[in-house]
């Protein structure tokens, strides 16, 4: 009898602890997001963007963000992104001439379609053979 009561109690306590932990995490994520959004909006009036570089909403190169140079550059970041998202495709991608890499990068920025980018990497590889 003790066991049957004890197991649900442990489950309940665990659920509560996990629930509180998850809620706190979610709220922390919201707070970070809100801070990022407000910092971004403030730039319209102040011309200054101030946000901690540790913010998860600033974006990283492995998330497809171009953090260095302008949108027409940043090929290095894009290469990092392809390597992290599709190591198999990256083997072929890294052998392509820069001209093709630039085209792939440009397509990714406008379409956001990684599957098509992977197809194009193989298509360009075949074309160049």
């Amino acid at each position: 009898m003790k066991q049957t009561v004890g197991i649900p109690l442990i489950g309940l306590v665990t659920s509560l602890v996990m629930g509180i932990w998850q809620t706190d995490s979610a709220r922390a994520a919201d707070r970070e997001y809100l801070r990022a959004v407000e910092a971004d909006a403030a730039e319209f009036t102040s011309n200054v963007f101030e946000l901690s570089p540790d913010s998860p909403w600033i974006g990283s190169e492995s998330q497809g963000a171009i953090l260095s140079g302008d949108q027409s550059g940043g090929l290095e970041g894009f290469s990092t992104f392809i390597e992290s998202k599709s190591p198999g495709s990256y083997i072929f991608y890294k052998k392509l001439p820069d001209e093709y890499k630039m085209r792939l990068h440009h397509d990714y920025l406008s379409t956001g379609d990684l599957d098509r980018i992977k197809d194009d990497i193989f298509r360009y590889t075949k074309e160049l053979k």
Binding site: A26, A41, F44, G64, A65
Partner: protein, 325 residues
């Protein structure tokens, strides 16, 4: 019985409005709106019209978010700390009517999940701007079609953060517009962090937060409502200077930020193949700071189809009656 059918239909209208993006009466913008000439910064009103054009998919003759196997578009809502509630559906929009036709556009949507499963809707927009939209709903429970009036701007659709105005009904002339600047978008677009990148019913793998627009040039467009005693005073949109995609909209009331909507957009063709405004929504994320409620609408690329040779006869009551429960 009558009340329950009305409620069900009202909920249906609410759910569908997000996906019925192109069927909307407006006087100043249609599929003939030209892309602004290069080298000139458009004025605020023109930017607002271009945003409207992109959001109403006028670059396409027809546009479908279809069902492909088990994959469909999905709307996910979460209130506070509760669990996510999802609704899946397909829809088909048709802008391909002659200029002398009394119909301007038609849209069919079909539900595939939840209590609304098997329900369909046909929305007709007429060429006559003074004529209101026509909403016909197929109710599978009674196997009949019912007609409904257009919903209000401020109504929430599908219990979500988004209002009818946000999604489809708000017209450029409902607000005054001011260009407040031009800068780079600095941050990733929002996302429900607890389900980000995870597998989810209907949609498959959900997208991760979109960061690929970081450092893209955007206009800041401040739009002040003309409606009195409205739920927001003004909103600020981040509008792509090339495609006129509005990545982010911030809503303010009494100087305080009250709601955020982020939209991830994707070009369907490569730039050199056509209109830079020929975009589709990849996902919408919304956060209401007054309630803590979050919403996410996801449209997987594989279910998108456009400019097909489907005949206009598909967009009729006959199709609604063929829907299987």
């Amino acid at each position: 019985m009558g009340v329950s059918i009305s409620n069900a239909a009202a909920r249906l209208v609410s759910f569908l409005s997000f996906f019925l993006f192109s069927v909307n009466g407006q006087a100043s913008v249609d599929h003939n709106l030209a892309y602004p000439p290069g080298g000139v910064i458009p004025d605020a009103g023109e930017i607002a019209r271009q945003v409207y054009f992109a959001n109403h998919f006028y670059a396409f003759n027809n546009f479908s978010i279809k069902r492909r196997g088990r994959t469909m578009s999905v709307l996910i809502n979460r209130v506070g700390e509760g669990s996510e509630k999802a609704t899946a559906l397909e829809r088909h929009l048709n802008n391909n009517y002659e200029s002398d036709d009394k119909i301007k556009a038609r849209d069919i949507a079909i539900f595939h999940s939840g209590k609304m499963r098997g329900t369909g809707m046909l929305v007709t927009e007429y060429a006559d701007e003074n004529k209101r939209q026509d909403y016909m709903v197929w109710l599978p429970g009674i196997r009949k079609i019912r007609r409904f009036s257009q919903p209000s701007h401020e109504d929430a659709w599908g219990g979500s953060v988004f209002t009818f105005g946000d999604v489809t009904l708000r017209k450029p002339e409902d607000e005054t517009h001011e260009l407040i600047g031009r800068k780079k978008l600095r941050t990733c677009l929002g996302m429900m962090t607890n389900i980000e990148g995870k597998h989810f019913r209907y949609a498959g793998k959900l997208p991760e937060r979109s960061c690929r627009h970081v450092n893209k040039e955007v206009y800041g467009l401040k739009s002040t409502t003309r409606f009195k005693r409205w739920w927001y005073d003004y909103r600020i949109s981040y509008v792509d200077t090339t495609s006129f995609a509005d990545y982010r909209t911030l809503y303010y009331k009494n100087g305080k930020l009250i709601k955020i909507i982020d939209r991830d957009w994707g070009l369907l063709n490569r730039d050199e193949e056509g209109d830079p405004r020929a975009l589709f929504w990849k996902y919408w994320y919304g956060l209401d700071l007054r309630t803590g409620q979050e919403s996410l609408a996801v449209i997987p690329k594989k279910v998108v189809e456009y400019n097909t040779d489907r005949k206009n006869s598909y967009w009729t009551e006959k199709t609604l009656r063929k829907i299987k429960r």
